[in-house]
């Protein structure tokens, strides 16, 4: 999922300080937790309260889109609701906000969240960690399903670097050493011989900026 965190509300209040009628567009898509109708409503309540303390009456329309990054879907849901709206707050990821800006070229579109990475949640602790950098050349098949590009601080392909202390990364003692995880996993799978294969440097062109699926 795409991992986002809400922007501080004072920053959002600054964004919308010169507008009165605002549309908050949620996204039910891949963020965790989904910032759908509930978050859109909660955000409108918080901003309305914050506006009052600043002697400003703000009016909100709240809605949500199944996938904000889908231009066609977002346009079909949002366009009929745009009448009278002066600014849009996008509760999707950075892609969602850009899609809305494209759909409404005449309106200011503000991101209501900061987008961090593609990751997964350790649900017990409520912590989300990066798992994929979208390198365009997936090598999970030979690393026991653990990505060293995303999870090794140095992005090593032929790790480990040797600096790991107590199974943690030497650059960040809170972070697991990806190469130790890979070693343990391959051992369990009885595939340690995979570690002996040399992996040449990554071809950065494979990442690309545009693809045809």
């Amino acid at each position: 999922m795409i991992v986002t965190t809400p922007k501080p509300l004072d920053e959002l209040l600054d964004f919308i300080s010169s507008y009165t009628n605002i549309l908050i567009a949620g996204c039910d898509g891949c963020t965790q937790p989904p910032r759908g109708l509930r978050e859109a409503k909660t955000l409108s309540q918080l901003l309305e309260l914050g506006g009052k303390l600043r002697n400003k009456n703000l009016a909100f329309k709240v809605t949500t889109v199944a996938k904000q990054c889908d231009t066609y879907l977002a346009a079909s849901i949002l366009k009929p609701q745009i009448n009278g709206v002066e600014a849009v707050l996008a509760l999707g990821c950075g892609i969602g906000a850009q899609t809305l800006a494209e759909i409404f070229p005449e309106l200011p579109v503000f991101p209501a969240q900061n987008t961090h990475f593609m990751g997964a949640e350790d649900r017990e602790g409520g912590i989300l960690e990066e798992r994929c950098v979208g390198c365009g050349d997936c090598l999970l098949a030979v690393t026991g399903g653990i990505c060293p590009v995303a999870r090794c601080s140095k992005g090593l392909l032929n790790g480990a670097c040797g600096g790991s202390k107590e199974d943690k990364c030497e650059l960040n003692p809170e972070k697991d050493c990806a190469w130790i995880l890979i070693y343990e996993r391959l051992k369990k799978l009885d595939k340690l011989e995979l570690l002996k294969e040399f992996r040449p440097p990554r071809d950065y062109q494979l990442k690309g900026w545009k693809v045809t699926p």
Binding site: D28, G36, L37, R38, G50
Partner: protein, 388 residues
């Protein structure tokens, strides 16, 4: 601190002079707070384990248990007053844990005019109350207990069933007719609006009872026999697709609006988990404090807290059970997590210190009073500063 604790009023006491060590209480206590000492044969009360369900109080044949809440005297005082106020001869005794609103009670029992008696667990009502009610001229008593496997105190609902069976036999023999007391069982259950569901799986993650299942394709499905109606999934659903049957969002919204319109300034709204704080039977007349008693703190929903502030409430206090004592498998801890997150966001817009979450236990009633008093002082200070 320790001195303060020892001086605290304790909600349940055992009077050793009356105790005949019959062990009825220790065999019923759901929390092993009452135990027979193997050596002396005496019954010992460990108040730290006690959840004040009142089962021991209502069943002790020697009246050797003193309880602070809903004891005989206060129940009788309440009934006398309520009989005048509601002017009826039908009494409905309900467990707050599953009671629907009064409209729901009407349709369950087919009565339109009745005297309501809401208690945390009907298992705590002693037999004497039924007799007293009948002596007061009450003709019909309806009891609404939780479904047996839903009873938050485990044995409160089954014990009530047996008690009523025996009472009805007795009343019949005395000539009051058959079935003077009617028992019905009820539980709160989740209901899902599948048109709104976005199949995100949050409810599957949060449900403490594994009642929510998400299949792909197929969407969300609730196993209602497993659902214990805590409302955590309702509060956490990002799509607002869930609700609690008979404790709908609108009911809470209506209560917030009503209380807010009646309260004096500065207005303080308290959401109480009914298992953490027992509402006094004979009224709490505090002009600027309003109470909403919820079947679990997990039902606290960000939007209701914000709605309260929007309606002009100055401070919101949430009183929940200690996480390890939560009657809903630690749902209280999850509620705390989301309240703390909301409180952080409130401070970003200038509403700091106005939302407070506390955990209390009914065995020390002063704990809640202290929290409320501290919070009241805090809100009054904020209020007077703002007015200046």
């Amino acid at each position: 601190m320790s001195q303060q604790v020892t001086q605290d009023v304790v909600a349940v006491k055992q009077n050793e002079d009356y105790c005949s060590s019959c062990s009825i209480c220790s065999s019923l206590c759901p929390y092993e707070a009452l135990k027979k000492d193997a050596e002396t044969g005496k019954i010992l009360l460990d108040i730290e384990k006690c959840q004040v369900c009142g089962l021991c109080y209502s069943t002790c044949p020697a009246r050797a248990i003193d309880i602070l809440y809903y004891d005989l005297d206060s129940l009788i005082t309440y009934l006398e007053r309520a009989k005048q106020e509601y002017d009826g001869d039908t009494l409905v005794i309900m467990c707050r844990g599953s009671a629907p609103d009064f409209g729901g009670v009407e349709s369950l029992f087919g009565v339109s005019k009745f005297i309501p008696l809401l208690v945390p667990c009907v298992g705590r009502i002693p037999e004497e109350i039924y007799f007293n009610a009948i002596l007061m001229g009450i003709k019909k008593i309806n009891v609404l207990a939780c479904d047996e496997d839903y009873c938050r105190y485990d044995r409160g609902s089954p014990v009530t069933g047996r008690k009523i069976l025996a009472l009805n036999l007795l009343l019949n023999q005395l000539g009051y007719g058959q079935e003077v007391i009617t028992l019905k069982r009820h539980s709160l259950k989740v209901k899902a609006d599948t048109n709104l569901c976005i199949a995100c799986g949050n409810c599957v993650f949060y449900c403490p009872y594994d009642a929510a299942k998400l299949e792909s394709p197929g969407g969300i499905n609730f196993d209602l026999t497993a659902c214990r109606g805590c409302g955590l999934c309702v509060a956490m659903c990002p799509a607002i697709a869930l609700d609690l049957e008979n404790w709908e969002k609108e009911r809470i919204s209506t209560l917030i609006a009503k209380l807010s319109s009646e309260m004096e300034l500065p207005k303080i709204l308290v959401f109480r988990c009914q298992w953490a704080v027992f509402p006094p039977l004979n009224g709490e007349l505090l002009p600027n404090i309003g109470f909403i008693d919820l079947p679990c703190a997990a039902r606290i929903d960000d939007s209701h807290i914000l709605e309260a502030f929007q309606k002009g409430i100055d401070g919101v206090l949430i009183a929940a059970c200690l996480e390890e004592e939560c009657k809903q498998k630690k749902a209280s801890g999850k509620a705390q997590h989301s309240v703390v997150a909301l409180s952080k966001r409130l401070s970003q817009i200038g509403f700091q210190d106005r939302l407070h979450f506390c955990t209390v236990a009914p065995r020390y009633p002063e704990e809640f009073n202290r929290e409320l008093e501290q919070f009241r002082k805090r809100i009054e200070a904020i209020y007077s500063k703002e007015r200046r």
